[in-house]
């Protein structure tokens, strides 16, 4: 309850700024319309006109909300009930696109997490890996993903592997990094004393890893998973842009910009944000449960 008040406050501020920004951004068109009709607009008429245009530069929140509702539950085949399975799975609906993006995001996230943990383990246990691989891991993230994504898509397409896999690779590319960095720190988190103690018991390297390093790294793992899943979503959407805009949230964004349909773009953006929020909330829940059970919760 205590956390809901600040969240709502911020939300209200954002909505206020949004409505306020819509007025000057959409005013030109409204004034032109009025001039053509030889009328002048009062201030309240101007505001009303800017908030309810058919093709606004910046659609207002209620317009985006209406668009979202229309393209999720009402994008219907004739004669079908709104919200029915046929409607939700219809190709004009956002849901199939969200599912496309979500499935690729989760695949990329899973591969990225596995790769990230694997790299972190090898970096922690091998000085050579630490010296040779770590700089490349960091360098890999300085390359703009927008530059490399089309090349990955093109290369895989030419090998006859379109769609899912190249997009998942782009998502992996972005999501392994936070996991690697977080887990290197996490696996190195045990104190000298704890490691010495394992040594006095003559514990093997594997035992030390499983019983000490891995449990100690859990808070670090969850923190980096939250960053990784968001990065994976961004990677997926970027990967969807050059694939011909067939399916996915990225495709909706591209479609919207082709046709100057700003409401479609904003609806797709909100859909992406909702996906990210759901995934991060799921990880946070897993984090809370795990750390509480491990006695590591703050």
């Amino acid at each position: 309850m205590r956390s809901i008040v600040p969240i709502l406050t911020v939300l209200l501020v954002i909505l206020g700024l949004w409505y306020a920004a819509a007025v000057p951004l959409n005013a030109q068109w409204a004034r032109d319309q009025a001039a053509r009709a030889d009328t002048t607009l009062s201030a309240s008429q101007l505001v009303e006109a800017t908030w309810n245009q058919d093709r606004p530069r910046l659609p207002t929140p209620h317009q985006v909300g209406a668009e979202l509702w229309k393209t999720t539950f009402e994008s219907c085949v004739e004669g079908r009930r709104a919200g029915s399975i046929e409607c939700i799975t219809h190709r004009r609906s956002l849901f199939p696109h969200m599912w496309t993006t979500l499935s690729v995001t989760l695949a990329g996230f899973a591969i990225g997490t596995a790769l990230g943990i694997g790299l972190a383990v090898s970096i922690v246990y091998s000085r050579a890996m630490d010296m040779s691989v770590m700089p490349w891991v960091i360098a890999s993230q300085t390359i703009p993903i927008l530059a490399i994504a089309p090349m990955i898509v093109v290369v895989f397409n030419s090998m006859g592997i379109p769609g899912f896999i190249p997009k998942a690779i782009i998502a992996t590319y972005l999501s392994f990094f936070p996991v690697t960095v977080g887990m290197v720190k996490g696996l190195r988190a045990p104190t000298h004393m704890q490691l010495d103690q394992m040594r006095t018991w003559n514990a093997s390297g594997l035992t030390t890893f499983l019983r000490l390093r891995l449990p100690t790294s859990m808070p670090y793992l969850f923190a980096s998973l939250k960053v990784a899943v968001a990065a994976s979503l961004v990677g997926t959407v970027v990967g969807e842009l050059p694939t011909g805009a067939i399916s996915g949230i990225g495709a909706r964004l591209l479609n919207g910009s082709y046709y100057g349909n700003t409401m479609m773009i904003w609806a797709a953006l909100i859909a992406a944000a909702v996906l990210a929020a759901i995934m991060i909330a799921t990880i946070s829940l897993a984090e809370r449960v795990t750390l509480k059970r491990m006695g590591l919760a703050q």
Binding site: M193, Q197, W201, M294
Partner: protein, 280 residues
């Protein structure tokens, strides 16, 4: 050939029958030195340390920071490598002793795993050493009894006070069959009242189990109260300046600290520490 064997047998017999043969020392150090190479030049943590710890001894190491008392313990535990001299633990090299799990080590902080119960923490070394489930359970409840923590097996570390946590960490070091207990300022972070109480319990435990204990401390009363032998050390280079054999009886109530004998020994320890300081 047959004669050879007969002679050998004979010799073995005489060995066995020899009544006054001294037991091998638990820890024996000869000219032990350890120099750390640091950016500011070499640091002589230990310099020509000669020391013998007999079975059943309670030996305290006392001295200012940097006198090498902890380093000595760490060398015995094979956590540091000496750069000169020799040291044996149970007649073996420290590495062999560590691998045969000859000692239990109690660190300055309890270092219990928050995700394990008290019982689970004490079970940890037993699991690593491959004891059977039944034996683990038996040893956990027995050692918890030894440190007066019976009934706390299912509790988590955060549910216990600092003193209780340190007792649990002592139980963990006692859980496997090491006859030697190395303790590095185990009560350093605790307040004096808790410390007195734990000292009393530690003495009782030492008396009951007959273990050999090497104990690092900053506190003169603690060292005098606990020990059969007090090793006074001084820093730069870390060396032994005095070894005091305590004349106090094995049975030691807390108020023995007001006795004349106790005060005299404490005085000698203080003199030893001061002598080490003057040379600085």
């Amino acid at each position: 050939m047959a004669l050879d064997q007969a002679v050998k047998l004979c010799l073995n017999r005489t060995n066995l029958e020899e009544p006054a043969r001294l037991p091998a020392p638990v820890i024996s150090a000869e000219n032990l030195s350890l120099t750390f190479q640091t950016n500011d030049g070499p640091v002589h943590a230990l310099s020509d340390v000669n020391l013998t710890i007999e079975k059943g001894d309670f030996v305290s190491f006392i001295g200012p920071s940097g006198c090498g008392k902890t380093t000595f313990l760490r060398v015995a535990a094979d956590l540091e490598q000496p750069t000169g001299g020799t040291i044996t633990v149970n007649g073996m090299s420290p590495e062999e002793a560590r691998k045969s799990r000859a000692y239990g080590y109690v660190f300055q902080a309890a270092g219990l795993y928050p995700w394990r119960t008290i019982g689970g923490n004490i079970r940890l070394p037993l699991e690593i050493m491959g004891y059977s489930k039944a034996e683990q359970a038996e040893r956990v409840s027995r050692t918890l009894g030894l440190v007066d923590l019976a009934g706390f097996e299912k509790k988590y570390p955060w549910q216990l006070s600092g003193g209780m946590q340190q007792r649990a960490s002592i139980a963990r070091a006692l859980a496997f069959d090491a006859d030697l207990l190395l303790m590095d300022e185990p009560f350093g972070a605790l307040d004096e009242i808790v410390r007195d109480h734990l000292n009393e319990q530690l003495l009782a435990l030492w008396d009951r189990t007959g273990k050999t204990i090497a104990f690092v401390t900053h506190s003169i009363p603690e060292a005098v109260y606990l020990s059969t032998k007090i090793v006074v050390m001084s820093p730069r280079p870390g060396r032994v300046t005095d070894v005091i054999e305590s004349t106090l009886p094995r049975e030691r109530p807390l108020d023995i600290r007001d006795s004349r004998e106790f005060i005299e020994i404490a005085h000698r320890v203080r003199e030893g520490l001061r002598a080490g300081h003057v040379e600085d």
